[in-house]
Amino acid sequence: MYEPEVVLETHNLNKDYRRTRALSDINIALDRGRIYGLVGQNGAGKTTLMRIIAGLSQPTQGSITLFGASSQPSLVRARRRLGAIIETPALYPDLSAAQNLEIERLIRGVADRSRVKRLLQQVGLDGTGRKRVRDFSLGMRQRLAIAVALLADPALLLLDEPINGLDPMGIIQVRQLLTTLAHEHGCTILISSHILSELDQLADEYLFVSDGRIIKQLTAAELSTQHDNLEGYFLELLKEGTPQ
């Protein structure tokens, strides 16, 4: 199957909530097999952008092209290759971890039943048995949400604060997992996190968002020539304040 090098493109994406502009002329292109860090303050528009890509929200203006698809029905089909954690983990609290994954397997039409067990092992939840998700810690829910997002071998992963609540070991495991997925399996990852030190270790490229605009886009290599770390660069950008 032909795999386009650019998996996602947005074209002059705008989103208004009543009189507030949440996104303004967003034009981005994400290449296959790269990890993109979405950096911005609260309310900058990171989650809104992810929600539009995932189909949870409609843009006021503009369009997106996902895996070469841009019409509404083809976009719906293209989203089958998408995995996402947006805001809080979307889970059935009355079901166990395995049952949550089983539902996702049915929704996604994944024939391989053993995938549920393998994923539970991969995220370290294979020992949870019949324990219901409502009794899980935040870290366990986050691990399960990652497993749900990975179930259908996605080609594009949208991760909004995926390491929230994870313990240090969990953060290391998730980092290794995401790096392997992107660099060995060609999965594109768009990840937002307020833990900039973590993004610094993960991302190949950064998109800085402020007031609904992409104010800067640069690669990890470019960043390293300009500044010691992501945090320092981000603070500098905020001080400058004007979009570039």
Partner: protein, 247 residues
Amino acid sequence: MKGLLYAEFYHLRRSRWFHIMLVADVLISIVFVFAAKDAHPLPGRTVLRSALIDLPLMMMLCAIFAGLYIGPAFTNKTVARAITAGHSRTRVMLAKCIVYLIATAVILLVYPLLSSGMACARAGWGVTITWGECISVARVIALAVLLNAAVCMLFAFLSFMLQDTGKAIGTSVVVYLLLTILATPRPALPVWLNGLLVLLPTNIARDVAFARPLSAGLAWQALAGGVVCLVLLLLLTGFAFNRSELK
């Protein structure tokens, strides 16, 4: 669509609230059966007809269940999960509504089937069971299911619109009470309004339950009324859900 339906049934089978509703349903049915103090045990046929007349009482459970089944899909964001998985909103809504309507049909039928079954065991059916009798009973039950599904679809519509468990339960219960109040003609209301109220599925369902025997005209009126109401509400729900901003 098949995958979505499988997933919804998988969830329904494990839904704590569905099990609680069924237990409550069975308990209420038993109370109703034993509370009826008749000098002689009534035959199954009579009890079935009476149970179908009482059926709107059970509709309260369906109003609450709409909020408990559809509401959490929004608060837990599992609706969003299905959309992100590459399903259109219309299909997600249809799968949820189909499974909800099947669940409510089960909830509603427990009482008439249980009570008439118990009565039948004690005093027999009441008349000789012939093919004609079987078809007549099946027709009345099918129409009751259809008309009640049309009413339940109103609760599902409210749950999709409100996208919140508490608000959906509260509003559905208020609408249920309103429908109950409007179930009998009100002389104080204008004639045209009373004429319109006759067309409410709850009121047609009552007429069907009272009719002995069920005339072909009323059967067609019930069928048309139920189907039109159900389809209109499904279209309205789909229209609203497709344009809504998900939480």
